[in-house]
Every structure is written in C-alpha cells, then in structure tokens.
Symmetry: D2
Subunit: 366 residues, 4 copies
C-alpha cells in the first residue's frame, strides 16, 4: 500500500494512490463532525465507517444529529448509516475517537486489540506511561512509545492521544520557547470558547455576557499534560519536563478559540528579541514530512497591539496555526505573552488527524 | 456645620442635619451618571452643581446625554442646567471628578486651588507623591498626605484619588492577604467589562463573541498603583510595598464587573485555611465609622466551584463588595484565586464617594 | 379567615392578618424560582410547600437546584425539604404551578380535585372552555368560569391559567386598544428572550450572535389565546373575539424580555393620538382592588425614538409593567408599534400570582 | 475592449483579456473594505484607485484603517496610497461608491460628469426618477434609465444604485413571489445585524443582550425602494408597483445578516406549494449572462423548521444567495415566511459589483 503525498497538478501519477480506510467513533458530536469534515476529502484517508452510541446506531448520519459546521451539510455523508462502536462491525486500520472519557476508556482498547491504530481525542489514556501524548511538531519521537504499548498490552493496534485543547494551545508558545531556553515556571490563565464544552454544552443563560471562572478537570489536565509532552523519551519511557505549571481556566462568551495569557520564567532570562526569534524560527519535528494537516507555520508571532483575537484570528491555517501576540517583559516572571488557538481543531479533531498523518508517514499504520 | 450619620428611624434628631454641597465634574459620562445617582439621595452630600464640557454646558442634563442606568432617569436631575467645569461658577466644598485624564490634569488643580476637596476618579494625579491614592478600607491613613499636598502646592482644598478599576478589584483580595502575610509576587490576569471603556467605548463589532487581549495603559496602572496603596506612610511620604506585580488585561463581552485570576506568592507560605481566614476576618480601616457607601463586608469569600461570576454577582453590596472565589493552592506561586468587583462602582464612582465620606468623617472637609 | 390588604403604615390593624398557605409545583425551574421569590414575602400568601419531580423530592431546595435569580439565594428557603407533587402531602388552598405541560395535565387536576385552587402557568388547560385564561387587568370577569368548571368537573378547587408569555406581552398593547377601538387584524413578530426556554434551555452555541426564527408551538398559542382572553363571557361561556391574528416568533440573544413588533388594523381607523390616549388612560379591571402584584400602570407609552429595549426597560414595575413605544401609522394596517414585557414575570410567575390575588379579592379562595 | 468570462481551465484563450480599471470611493469603511476584497481578484475589474476622506488621503491603505475582514489583510493593497475622492485624480471607467449619503450627494455627480459609471451603495440618488435602482436578477431592464439620465443631466458617465440592505434582503422573497402572483400587501419586520451600522457603529454597551427597535430612516427606505425596484419601465420612466408595504426595523446582537419576518397578501391567494415553486423555479433576469458575482441560485428555499439563521447561513453563495424558510399560511395575510441575506454583501458591496457586471455585460461601460 502506497501513501503518496498529493503531487503538483501538472505531474499527476498515472495510478491513483490507495487511501487508508478510517473509522470515526462518536461521529455525531461537535468534535466528531469536525473529524468527518476533515476526512471527507483527505488525500491519505478515506471515511469507511461512522460510529455512534447505541441510540443513534442504525440511523442515517443526517437523521441522528444536526450538522453544526459551515460547508456542505454532513460533508456529503448524511445518508451514511451509523454503526455501533464495535470493532467487529467497524474496524479500520485507522480509527479516530471523539468519544467521551468513560466511553473511550471502555471502547478504545477493544479497537486497539482488534488491530486498529486509535487516534483519540479523549483524556482516558493520555497520561498512561505507554501511551503517546503527541503534538507532532513538538514531540514526534514519542510515537515510539507504541512499541512499548504493543508489547505490554499485547495489542496489534494501539492508542495515540492528543492533548486537551487548552494544553494544545499553551504549547504553541511554550513548546518552542522551552526547547530554545528551558522554561522553569509557567502561569497560564485561559479564556476558553463555548465550543470546548461540546453540544448542548453551556446553557446560554449561563454564558451570555458572563465569565464562568471554572471548567471541571481542566486545570489539572493542563498542568500535567504539558510536562509529559515536553518530556524526553529515554529508554522507552518519558521523563517529564521539570517545569512548574499553574493553570487557571475560565469560560468566556466566545464561539471558537481559546486565548491564554501566559507568564514564563526561564533558567536564564532571554531577551524579548531572543524569545521572538525562537518562535519565529522554530523548526517543527514534522518539517519536510509534508503532512496534509500541518499548517505552514506552527506558530506565528503577531505585532499588533491587540491581537490575536479569537473571533478574528482563530481560523488561520485551517484552524491549525497557533498565534502569539503581546510578547513583552514581565516584572515577575521575566516574560509574558498571549497565545491563541482553535480549540476544536488544533485542540481536538485537527490534532488527531495530524497525529495519524505522522503515524502514517513513520510507518506505524499497517 | 454638623455631619451626623443617619440615626435610627425611631429616634430622629429634632433638627435635620445640614448636607455638604457637592459638584460633579463630567456628569454626562458613564461614571458621571453613577456619581449623580449615588449622590441624589446621599445622607451627607447634596448635589449642588453638575458640570460638563463646554459643548454641553448650558443645556439641561437630560438634553445633554442619554441616561444609561436603571432607576429614575437622571436620578431626578434631568432638568438641572449643566455648568462649565469652572470653579468660579461651580465650586463646592466637595467636588467629584469623572473627567478624562487630560481634562483632569488641567481642571482639578483649579478647583483644589479654589478651596474644593476634589475626589477624582482620573489617573492624572494618582501617582504624585503628595496625592492620596485611597481604598479607605486598606489605607485610610494615607489621607494624611493632604497636609503635605496643601503645604507644597499652596492649595486650600486638595486632590484625593481612587485607583484604576482593575487595581481596585485586585486589592479586594491582595489587600487583606498582604496585610496578614506579606505578598512577594503577584500575577493578575483580568477579564474586564465593556463599561470600563466608557461610552460609546468598545464598538460592538469588536466586542461581540470576542476577547481583546489589550487595554491601553491598564497593565502599567495596576502594577504601580497597587504598590502605592499597600505602601506605608512614613514621615509624610509613602514607602511603596516591595511586591513584584504583573498584570495582563483583557476585554471580554461582559457588561459590568471585572474578574481577575490571581496568583500569589508570600514570604512564608500560609495554608489555604489561613488565607481564607485572613479574608473572612479582615477588619477594614473604616470599621466603626459608619460610612454610608461602605459595604457590610469589604470582601466576601465564596465556596461554590464556579463563582464569583460577573453577571450574577457584581451588584452585591451595592456594587461595593468584593468577592473572592476558588481559593486554592498554586503549583507555582503557592496560592491562586479569582476576585470580582464592580468596575464602575467599587472601581470608580462608589470609590470616590467612599473616599469623600472618609474625608468627611476625618474632618478634612471644611 | 380574613384576607385584608396591607393597610397604610400609620393605621396598622391591632391583629396581624392571617396569610393563605400556598404550594409551588415545579419549584426548582426558572419560573418556579420566580414564584418562590415573589411569594417569600408576599402580604397575602405564605409559602407552605415546595414541590418538585420525584428525582428532587426529599432533598433540600438548595441541594436540588442552582438559584439563578438576584437577591437572597433561594429567597431564604434553601433549607426547605422538597415534597413530591402529590396533593396528599402538599395541598394548600392556593397552589402555583410551574410544571411542564405534560406534568401539568396529569397533576393539576389532582390538586383541583383535592380542593386546591391551582394557578397554572402551563399551557395544558388554557384553551379548555371551562378554564379561565386570565390577564386580570383585561378580563377579570372570566374568573366566573370557575363556577362552570367546578360544576362540570366536580372539583372543589379549580384551575385558573395565565397566558403564554408572548400572548401576555402582546395583550399589553392589544388589550387596551381592542377595548377602545375594536381590532380586526393583528400581525405580531416577536423577538423573544432566552429565559423563555427555561433552563438549561437554548445552548449557547445556538444562541450567541444569532436569531433562531422558530419557537415550537408558540405561534399557535399566541394566535388562539389572545382571542379567548379578549372574548366576552356570555351565559357561562367565552365568545372569542373576532380578530384575525398572525404571530411569527423568533429567539434572539437577550436574557429577559420579549419585544414584539405589532401591526394593527381597526374597524374604523383611529388617529395615533386616539390610540395613544387609549393606552395612556386605560383603566384596568383591577383598578381599586389594591392587588399587591399589579403595577402602577398596566401599560406605559414611551416617546423616545428607540425604546422600549429589553435590557434597559424590562424590570419596570417589578417586571409587571408593559411598555409600548414607536406608535406610528402603518401603510398597510393603519397602526404599528413595539411592545415589551417581562416574559418570566408578566408572562409567567408574576401573572399567576396576580391571578391568585384577584381570586382572593373576589372571594374564590376558600 | 473585450470582457470575456473566465473560460474553463483547459481551454484558456491565448491572449489574456483586458480588465476594466475601477476606483473605490470610501475604501476604508466596512463596505469599502468589502469592495476592495471583492475586486482584488475580479475577472473583469482591476483595482486602479482607492479613495478616502481628506483625512486619510495620502496615507497607505494599511495606515489609514484597520482591516476588519477575514482573509489576506487589505486584500494585498495595504501599501496602496489613498487618493482624495476627486475625479481629476482618481477617475476610472467604473467607480464603486461606499460613501455616506452626504458625501455621495456631492461627489458622485462629479465622477459621473467626468465620464465614470458610478455604482453607488449610498441612498442619495436611489429614488431619483432617472437613476436605476437595481437588483440585477429582478429588474435588469431598469438599467435602461441610464439613457434618460445621461440626456437629462448631460453626463457622459452616470449613476447606478443598489437598494438599502434590508430592501435587498426582502426582495429575495418578495421579488420572485410578486412576479409570479402579484403581491398586494407586505409587512416586514427585520432583525438586523450590527455591521449594517458601519464601524464603529453601535456601541457594545447598547447592543449586547439587547434589541434596539429603531434604525433611523430605514423603514421609509424599505417601504419606498421596494416599489420602485418592482416597478415597470414604461416609456423611459418607472411605474411603481402598486404594493402597500410596511416595515419595522430592529437591531439585534448579530454580526452579519439581516433576518426578516414577512407577511404577504396576494390578489388571489396561491397555495403554499405554488409559492414555493415560484421561489424554487425563479429564473433571474441575469440567467445566462455568467455574471461573476451572481450566486448559483438567487433564492434558496429551506425546509428545516428553524432555518435560515444568520450566524449559520449568511455566507452561502459568497454572501449573495438569499434564503427563504418557514413558508407557511398566515391567518391574516395568506402567507408568511422568513428571509435572510447578507447585509454588507447582497445588501451592499456585492450588490454594487453585480450591478457593474450587468452594466458591463449590457455594454454600458465605455
């Protein structure tokens, strides 16, 4: 099976490449719909199965849920009959999971045992020692944990996870800066979009013209996941990065896009010019791999006084580009900045798809 | 002239007390209207003059602006003719200033020289060494700077200022905790209401469903004003509190109320129980003075997981109570919390009026 | 049992009056909470029982739901244990029902049969021929249907209903104008608040920065209920008013208050001055009864170009005053105007309480 | 000069076609920016000059204003120096005007006299008897008024206008239905987006969580413009369509897209099926002309219960498609429906550009 990248238009190969069949678990939800839209015309993957809860299985996709995204309704898959989340009926070489934590904990191992490589947006297995928690641009080598995972668990397939949406956005700034200068202490205060709570999610009577200064479980995820992602793979295990991280997570009346105000203390304080250069010249681990979902630049530095703003900037790079603004000295930590990213793309569906593209490029998809 | 507090209903004094005449400068704006509403039925003060820009002077109050507050339109003063901001026409023993910075810098000294005690919400003189920057519950003794000010500037009156709205809210938590345990480092990330920008203020095309991660000049004000307020009056001058403070200020789609996520590092780390007790048992400098505008409690500690919220909680204590929630350990600083306050009352009009009540109680009003 | 109105302060009766015990069905919801707050310090009624679904019964009120209103949490009843909606345990002379339609259809008759007079905000019985559908200011005499109802159904108690929230607001304009000039055709396009959908109600992902041009069942309710309310009680039955009514109902991102754009055609076209006079000089059926919840004026005519506005004006008269603005000629119908009212007070909780006050004043409460 | 439509990719003409140079007046505003974005890569037109007020003239486009649209900032014209609105410096065969009414009244005739064909979004000349007021799909023949205009005014160029944004959206439903069945009476209640007020436009303190039931001058425009557009060109003059129209215009917290609730009375009442067919099978006057900006379908009929919704549907057809939903019987008028359209594209910039494409196709551009 050959997985070529799309060639330039004037030199198309004579024989079309074969796409890898994929399954989406939890296809009816907010993130599931984004998986379907991303995969509907993906150059490497082909949507084989859409799976949903027992309540929806057996119905046509268009019957089982309301399509909430722009563009063609149901990405053209409105007539496709939903299957139950059962590997006996819906296994594919690649499986994308938009399941809730509890369902993920139960069902993802069944698919992994059945030989599927599961790319999961759920938090269930993220912090397991043998499960890769990936941001391909930052820790592509952690994919190597799959070997350990298969050995330990006796799976032919496996589980690969992407971080919580807020972690994913924070790492857009923290990742390149830590790599360049070694962060010691990080304080992150998020202003998170409503879409992060799924659908129906936050009632409008709570959300409108308000701030809700609490998101269940979120702060702990950010504080622990970031250290694993920035950790070093050493002898088959991750040594977590020795960074103290504090997160405060807030819900604000924004539709898409998490904005995070970040303070950073480094071992030796770099200048602002050095920090900006570290972001602007960052070379991701995925450079040269031509991954379809990877944005042109992992992180963009903005110089306007009042950007990035979620409503105006969140869709850059197909929702996969991270944006840093207001990089400036901090009287307490040394440096502070604002980072913005798309919580249901860079922080969910797009993240899983990019992970799968990396796994495919690295030969982990059988 | 006697300024008695309102006596209980069943023992009213035979002779009514005489109220102090007051002037409001900048009466047509968002904060000016709040001054007028607060003063319309104040037990100690009586609205004598409303002043506005040359463009509005000579018009009736109701003609010159739209009333934007709840309750009786123009607080019953809709027919009052606006005067220019000129002490020759509009001097009173007490003057409240809702002027913009530039106008304040020019006009407030004229009133002070004319013998008026000016209570200013403007930033123009806040950081001058001889000008009190007051939160009466926290640094009532700083009012003593007035003696120095009068001597140095040769004024019969004077200028007393209240802090920037974000500083005022931050101090609701920081003030009592610093007094009890000595804060060393503070990081504050604000989510600020639209009313803070005045009227017309932020265009709806910018504000709706968005975060604007920048408010001009705001971060510097918070970082400097807080140290002065928490400073010690020593030999006629303020020794600033040795606290490193970092502020990041954001505009969010909220109508009233600034919410601030705060991290705090102390010299020796107190327990969460100790910190909570320091807030809950805080005795303000104003205790026992019976100031009309002072809330029952300066700061209230909330225990719900997701409070305080601006839309639901901002009006507590007539907008003068500060609320702290989510007090918890911080992996970086030791402690973190959320504090909420009313930006145009505790952070503006109510603050100035409370300052004037303190000055009256302490005998500074002639 | 004596039910006196509160006497003027200087002539208090020597013996305190006895309040009527009341029960609230569905106390945990958005409307139920408003019932509790209105009844907590009502001069005629005393909260005896709070009832809720089997899931909540047995819990303390504060445990079973989040309080979503301003003012004291749970109106001081947070510790009260919720009962099931069962007349064997929770009967009172007066019962207020904030139940959903299906529950109302099943449970309200049980309370009516047990001798309770049920004041229902549900739609279940509104259009039954023997059930009063009341706006006390407009059709107080329809209460007389209770005699028929008791005879037909063999109930000792009975059911009295208030209209749908949008009908209630529309009638603020239509009622007085129809009484004065006889409306023939009415077109009403509503812009309805989110609170009308209850809690959790409309997801924020649907509501924010959007219009939803559909509210299930709403248009039919407005078109039929208004004709019954404006009908004539004749020989024990209601002859519906011969008005053609068209409603178009939309949800907009507003928290409280339904705004309705109305066109009106009369038999003979009155002048705008005549229409304004009909509103301004309207004498409600409740005049002189001193009902506690009745606003000073049933409907107020506003003359500003851009009022009424829901966020600014909805709380007038404790949410019970209706407001008409922009009365002007219509090139098609003759007249057009905007009417605003509080959907969960004038259109729900306040409406039921006012109905009960009328019934009490008219001697229908035993 | 030849103006071919873009040919299919595999049969490109050997010689590139020459594009018509165009000027944009008022390029810095909300509508002006949309003109620039639409014209930046237009197949027929080439941006020659950007003009602005004297205050901005001489500055680079990027200096003079903030770009408020998605996509490339300033559509790549950020460095272009702005000219004053003076035909001596900025004349082109085609001129697009996003000027305010007063400026338009003064400046557009100067360009028309200088030989430019001005496509104006301003209201200044819309109702002049010799000025075409166009929706190309509905009254393309009205362009013929240009002959009269040139004769009467002695201009070599001319002025062609597009309707007010609300009129433009209303006509999406009313136009096809009137053509098929002859409307007699129309009532339209609009819920209009904030962008319609320009920038800075509506202050967020007025707009948030509110309805403003008034938009200055808007109702009169809708009531008069629609009759002209639907009128018949007869002997060089327009006979207005004999339809009684009533408009009620409201501002709601929506970013883009006007939603209108419409009631329609016809001479003889068609069935709902007939009305739907009239919309679905409508053949626009522009059929076969291949105009670049014309949407695939002028109006789309939707069948979901709760659509169209502005946030979800407004961008269809590049903002040029109109959408009708909820077509149903009306107890008063016979029929009612909801129509949605993009106020700053179909109702402004896109409308003017489509007018220019029609004029070009019909040979009016010299």
């Amino acid at each position: 099976m050959e997985h070529l990248r799309a060639a330039p238009a004037d030199s198309r190969p004579a024989t079309p490449k074969t796409k890898v069949p994929v399954t989406v678990l939890g296809a009816t939800g907010v993130v599931g719909q984004r998986f379907v839209r991303r995969l509907a015309d993906h150059p490497d993957f082909e949507l084989a199965h859409l799976c949903a809860s027992p309540r929806s299985a057996g119905k046509a996709y268009a019957e089982a849920c309301d399509w909430r995204l722009d563009g063609e309704a149901y990405a053209g898959f409105g007539g496709k009959v939903l299957l139950p989340c059962d590997p006996a009926m819906a296994a594919s070489p690649v499986v994308f999971s938009a399941l809730d934590t509890d369902a993920a904990r139960e069902l993802e191992p069944l698919f992994a045992a059945a030989g599927c490589l599961v790319f999961s947006n759920a938090s269930a297995f993220r912090m397991e020692a043998d499960v890769p928690l990936l941001i391909p641009e930052l820790n592509a080598d952690h994919l190597g944990l799959l070997e350990l995972q298969r050995r330990l668990r006796g799976w032919k397939g496996g589980i690969v996870t992407n971080p919580n949406c807020t972690t994913a956005v924070l790492l857009g700034a923290l990742g390149p800066l830590h790599r360049a200068y070694g962060a010691r202490e990080v304080s992150a205060v998020s202003m998170q979009a409503l879409s992060g709570a799924g659908y129906p999610g936050v009632p409008s009577l709570d959300a409108m013209a308000n701030v809700i200064p609490y998101i269940k479980g979120e702060e702990d995820k950010v504080e622990t996941e970031a250290r694993k992602i920035l950790g070093r793979l050493d002898g088959g295990r991750i040594l977590e990065a020795p960074i103290a991280i504090s997160a405060q997570c807030n819900r604000v009346p924004v539709l898409e896009g998490h904005t995070i105000a970040v303070n950073l203390r480094f071992g030796t304080q770099p200048t602002m010019a050095e920090l900006e250069a570290a972001l602007a010249s960052f070379v991701p681990d995925t450079a040269g791999l031509g991954l379809h979902t990877a944005p042109t630049s992992f992180v963009r530095v903005r110089h306007e006084a009042d950007r990035p703003q979620p409503r105006r900037d969140v869709e850059e790079g197909g929702g996969m580009e991270l944006q840093v603004g207001r990089l400036r000295p901090c009287p307490v930590f040394g440096a502070k900045l604002v980072v913005l990213g798309h919580n249901t793309e860079r922080g969910a569906a797009g993240a899983s798809v990019l992970n799968a593209e990396l796994a495919l490029a690295r030969g982990f998809v059988r």
